[in-house]
């Protein structure tokens, strides 16, 4: 068979070619970078180290929000062995069926990866079950932190945290599914300050997801940076007092320190205990609060806008004086044929107009502002006049959303020519159509925060610092863009005239706000009784005190409470006295306010 010995060459050739083909294919695999990526994804696990969130203090250094240890009971199903189910049930106070369904859920997720068996067990329960933990193989406890809200106050200011939404993850790559993020209040407003910086550790895992060691000796790991502690401008004493005074009433109180723009108190009623929004009960409580009457989740102090009522008259006076359409000693008759009024002497000056809160007086003031005779056509004239007025009045912080530090700030509304053109059509409205604006009714909408800031401008006689809630970051004074000084274009002398009127409102007979009188302190204020299409009038009061060197400016809204002087004024008075003096000189008044319930019938 020697004749076939030449056939060894094709055989060897086939063998060599096939081995060469294998070598080339292996070479191609080496250059396939996607395989390298898959290899890393396979075996590299990224584990996030969560930083502890910053602590929130009040202006006096009291802790408002801190972190509390909580424990998640984790379960790795494949490590589980027989255990005393009854004991676990007793430890966690859950039923046997619940234990079984939770185990099933964990198994469904993964046999090898740990999942949360029960989340956010509080430290008392944990302390109790810790001793038994070794009897439950496969179970272990993972520490985490929960927010703890002290004192149960300022729910709307502090807000809460919750799991980050899909939209937020898309907007900011920092967040990942399951992260906790501020949902409302300053928790959300100062999220970037409070949250800190997440750290990342890379581990090598095997096919079952069990960690085998650190990746490249931790070369790519980053350390979590703790969140910054912040100090709020809120005085928890004043806040707590305000919440007590407003109990069983619907409305809002905002108090500002005029010289700094710091918000001393921000009360929105009804409120709730912020601790309700923590931990396992959050979902349930959130739902019930969402359905509760008077919508306690709304921060009325910044999000609700109301007609300012007569408090607006001071602003009208300021604009009219500055625009030169009236003189300080302007007199208008109390002509009740146009707008209604109560019985009082004829005001013979601007200050008296404010003191007596004479509706016809400001009807005429506003008419002069709107119908200035700049155009023969009264419609065009009204549009020009209203435009000039809007420009001026907005400098007082109206129609502007302040970056106060909490979300949901409503900018309110100042109607201008465009607004009425849309509403009635161009050239189809004039002063006679819109006169209710003169006394802060109709289309004018102001939030309690804006109202307090407006009081603050009057207290400062011409400027304001943007109201803000952030005082310090990590103990260092905050001087950021949130606290800018804004000067209004009104002369000091006109402020003096208006402030004089506000003084008389409280301190002179015939003034509408004598309920705000504090012995020994000159309170300047202005009442408002805003008509409310939904029911009884809203009671409004804005004030500052003392007249010279003001320490506090305040706005009080009580929904459906009637005349401004009756409810809002005494609440403002008690708040101011509490803040300035630290004690109340009229315990009877205090008692009356504390015990009065003014809940509107309508569940809005």
């Amino acid at each position: 068979m020697k004749e076939f010995s030449v056939r060894r060459y094709p055989v060897v050739a086939i063998f060599v070619i096939v081995l060469l083909a294998i070598w080339i294919k292996a070479l191609l695999l080496m250059f396939d970078s996607s395989l390298k990526q898959s290899a890393e994804n396979n075996s590299r696990r990224r584990i996030v180290q969560y930083p502890s969130r910053g602590i929130i203090y009040d202006r006096d250094g009291n802790i408002l929000v801190c972190n509390e240890a909580a424990y998640d009971l984790m379960l790795t199903p494949h490590q589980m062995q027989e255990f005393d189910t009854a004991m676990l049930c007793a430890d966690l106070s859950i039923t046997k069926e619940e234990v079984e369904s939770r185990i099933l859920k964990a198994k469904k997720y993964s046999m090898y990866r740990p999942s949360i068996f029960m989340k956010q067990i509080d430290s008392k329960v944990y302390a109790q079950m810790q001793e038994h933990l070794y009897r439950y193989p496969g179970f272990y406890v993972q520490n985490r932190t929960l927010r703890k809200y002290n004192g149960g106050i300022a729910a709307h200011v502090l807000g809460d945290i919750g799991e980050v939404s899909e939209a937020q993850i898309e907007a900011d790559p920092y967040y990942q599914s399951g992260d906790y993020v501020g949902k409302s209040g300053v928790e959300r407003g100062y999220e970037n300050i409070l949250r800190g910086e997440k750290g990342v550790s890379f581990y090598l895992v095997n096919v079952k997801g069990v960690v085998q060691g650190s990746y490249e000796d931790g070369k790519y790991d980053t350390v979590a940076i703790q969140g910054n502690d912040i100090t709020l401008t809120i005085s928890s004493e004043l806040q707590e007092y305000g919440e007590r005074l407003m109990a069983n009433k619907v409305g809002a109180v905002v108090a500002i320190e005029p010289s700094s723009g710091e918000v001393l108190a921000m009360v929105s009623m009804p409120t709730y205990d912020p601790q309700l929004m923590v931990g396992r009960v959050r979902g349930k409580n959130y739902d019930s609060l969402l359905r509760a009457p008077y919508k306690p989740l709304i921060n009325r102090a910044v999000s609700s806008t109301y007609p300012p009522g007569s408090t607006f008259k001071v602003a009208q006076a300021l604009v009219a004086l500055q625009e030169g359409v009236i003189t300080p000693n302007q007199s208008f008759p109390c002509d009740k044929s146009k707008v209604g009024c109560h019985n009082h002497p004829t005001p013979t000056s601007v200050s008296m107009g404010i003191q007596m809160s004479c509706n016809p007086y400001f009807y005429f003031v506003f008419r002069r502002l709107v119908q200035r005779g700049l155009d023969r056509n009264i419609y065009k004239d009204a549009a020009i006049g209203l435009g000039l007025w809007k420009e001026k009045i907005e400098t007082l912080g109206f129609n502007h959303a302040f970056n106060v530090g909490v979300p949901g700030v409503n900018k309110g509304q100042i109607p201008g020519p465009d607004y009425y053109n849309r509403l009635y059509g161009e050239g189809r409205w004039a002063f006679s159509t819109i006169y209710s604006v003169s006394i802060g009714q109709g289309e004018v909408l102001v939030s309690p925060l804006q109202m307090a800031n407006y009081a603050s401008i009057l207290a400062n006689r011409g400027y304001y610092i943007t109201p803000h809630l952030l005082k310090q970051i990590n103990g260092e004074d905050y001087e950021g863009e949130m606290a800018q000084k804004v000067v209004t274009p009104f002369d000091r002398k006109y402020f003096d005239i208006c402030v004089e009127g506000m003084d008389w409102v409280v301190n002179k007979p015939g003034g509408t706000g004598h309920n705000a009188y504090i012995p020994g302190i000159t309170v300047c204020g202005k009442t408002g009784t805003a008509q409310n299409p939904h029911g009884k009038d809203n009671s409004v009061f804005m004030a500052f005190a003392p007249k010279e060197d003001p320490k506090i400016a305040i706005a009080v809204y009580v929904e459906n409470a009637g005349f401004g002087g009756t409810w809002a004024a005494p609440i403002a008075r008690l708040m101011m006295e509490k803040y300035i003096k630290g004690e109340i000189s009229d315990p009877n008044l205090e008692q009356r306010i504390l015990t009065t319930s003014i809940l509107p019938n309508a569940t809005r």
């Binding site: 292996a26 080496m30 395989l35 895992v205």
Partner: protein
């Protein structure tokens, strides 16, 4: 002196093969160690671990080698049929009393000791085949002899197939190389090869594309056979032009690509017709031959495709696709190959280093110490390791063939070819399947894969040849 040298086996055995063997076994053990290594088992002699056990197998294999070398070389040819019968009985008994592992009933279990008879059956078949084909009147010119070879191969193959161990059964196909060397009809050899390749590629590659390739090969072959003839050149150019147009059209329009099967058919018909015309004008035989070949191959490809898609049931289809490793489901059947490719691909040029492979060490690749041991090599030693191992196997196989050619005894030569073919098939298919080039059939990588049966079987297989080779000068003397 001369006499003494002849008598001393140590001087006569081929030390190159022995050293290659030892090198491969050592590298195999190193990689098993790495594949199963973890921090909890530090001692290399820990017999509770696979590498510890493998070390025992290796030690025992040395003893086996000594026994194999001490037995007289005439024993192997004399008792070839006896061993064949024993081997078949072993296969039969494993079919009756064996234990099922991973769906294949191919294991004997005696206590904790497990053995796979199929590995040893390969030796017996190789010996029996060598005995048959070396008998004096044997010639492939006699058709009856094909039948004898078929019976020798068929009986064990059938029993292995019944064990549901398709991979091992396929190993016996490798003896076609031995038969070819010993005078098998070359047309038969080429067409057997062509049919196997066409069958596999008909399922792996787009039918139309395969037909284009087949057509082009035929036309180019025809051109080479006819030389520089203007008629054949016309056919060649038109075939190339047609293929180019078809490929470009398919790339440009996906709708056309879907209908490209029709394209291929039309082109096929047109070129065949052209060839027929050419044949009648020029009367050149190769043109007719190429035409018949082309139509035959095209028909075969098309019918495979048709039967696969229209006649076979869904589960049969998926079984075949699994066998071909063509299943795209990376979490299901395709998982092994996908993970294996990831492991090898992540190794890079020089690998991640000994014990530093993450994919294999953290058990992403299943069967990594047995059938997929090559992944560990690829990941930890990179292209360098792969090259070294392929080269070593290549040298071993080529050396065995060269040695076989030098034999005076036909039995030794045929046996040598058998050894080379078996080794080649195992290496090619095992490595091929880890890199996604061959269907995933569970056959071990010689000397590397964990397991006493396979290590011993390959050792015996190789060293019987070493023994026969050592005696090559004594034959006819």
């Amino acid at each position: 002196m001369q006499q003494g040298r002849r008598n001393n086996i140590l001087f006569n055995i081929d030390w190159v093969i022995v050293i290659l063997y030892l090198a491969l076994v050592f590298m195999g053990w190193i990689n098993i160690y790495s594949a199963v290594y973890d921090d909890t088992h530090q001692s290399i002699l820990d017999t509770s671990c696979q590498y510890g056990k493998q070390l025992i197998w290796i030690g025992a294999a040395i003893g086996v080698i000594i026994i194999v070398l001490l037995i007289d070389s005439k024993f192997y040819s004399t008792f070839a049929y006896v061993m064949y019968v024993l081997g078949c009985l072993l296969l039969l008994s494993v079919l009756l009393f064996g234990k099922e592992v991973n769906g294949a009933k191919s294991w004997f279990e005696i206590g904790t000791f497990r053995m796979q008879p199929v590995e040893f059956a390969k030796i017996a078949v190789c010996l029996a085949l060598a005995r048959l084909m070396s008998s004096e009147n044997f010639s492939f010119k006699v058709v009856r002899n094909y039948m004898y070879v078929g019976i020798i191969l068929g009986i064990p193959m059938l029993m292995i197939l019944l064990q549901n161990d398709t991979g091992s059964a396929l190993v016996f196909c490798t003896f076609i190389f031995v038969m070819f060397r010993e005078g098998m009809n070359k047309v038969l050899f080429v067409s057997a090869f062509a049919l196997i390749f066409l069958f596999i590629f008909a399922l792996l590659v787009e039918t139309s594309l395969l037909m284009l390739i087949v057509g082009l090969i035929c036309v180019i072959g025809m051109t080479m056979l006819c030389g520089r003839n203007k008629y054949t050149r016309i056919v060649l150019y038109s075939a190339v032009a047609y293929s180019l147009v078809a490929v470009v059209l398919c790339i440009l329009s996906p709708e056309l690509a879907e209908k490209s099967i029709n394209f291929a058919m039309i082109g096929y018909g047109a070129i065949s017709l052209l060839m027929l015309v050419m044949f009648f004008i020029s009367k050149m035989k190769p043109i007719l031959f190429a035409m018949i070949l082309m139509i035959g191959m095209g028909g075969f490809v098309y019918s495979v495709d048709y039967i696969f898609n229209n006649v076979l049931q869904e589960h049969q289809r998926s079984r075949i696709m699994d066998l071909l490793g063509k299943n795209d489901d990376v979490l299901g059947t395709g998982y092994n190959v996908h993970q294996s490719k990831i492991a090898i691909g992540s190794g890079g040029m020089l690998g991640k280093g000994f014990l530093h492979g993450t994919q294999t060490k953290y058990k992403f690749v299943p069967e990594q110490s047995t059938d997929f041991i090559f992944c560990t090599i690829g990941e930890e030693w990179g292209l360098l390791g792969i090259t070294v191992i392929l080269v070593l196997f290549g040298i071993l196989i080529v050396r065995i063939i060269n040695k076989a050619e030098r034999q005076r005894s036909v039995f030794s030569r045929i046996y040598g070819y058998g050894v080379a073919s078996i080794l080649f098939f195992h290496v090619a298919i095992n490595i091929g399947m880890t890199i996604g080039l061959a269907p995933v059939v569970g056959i071990p990588l010689p000397f590397f894969s964990y397991g006493g049966s396979s290590l011993w079987a390959f050792t015996i297989l190789l060293f019987i040849f070493v023994r026969l080779d050592a005696d090559r000068l004594q034959v006819f003397r």
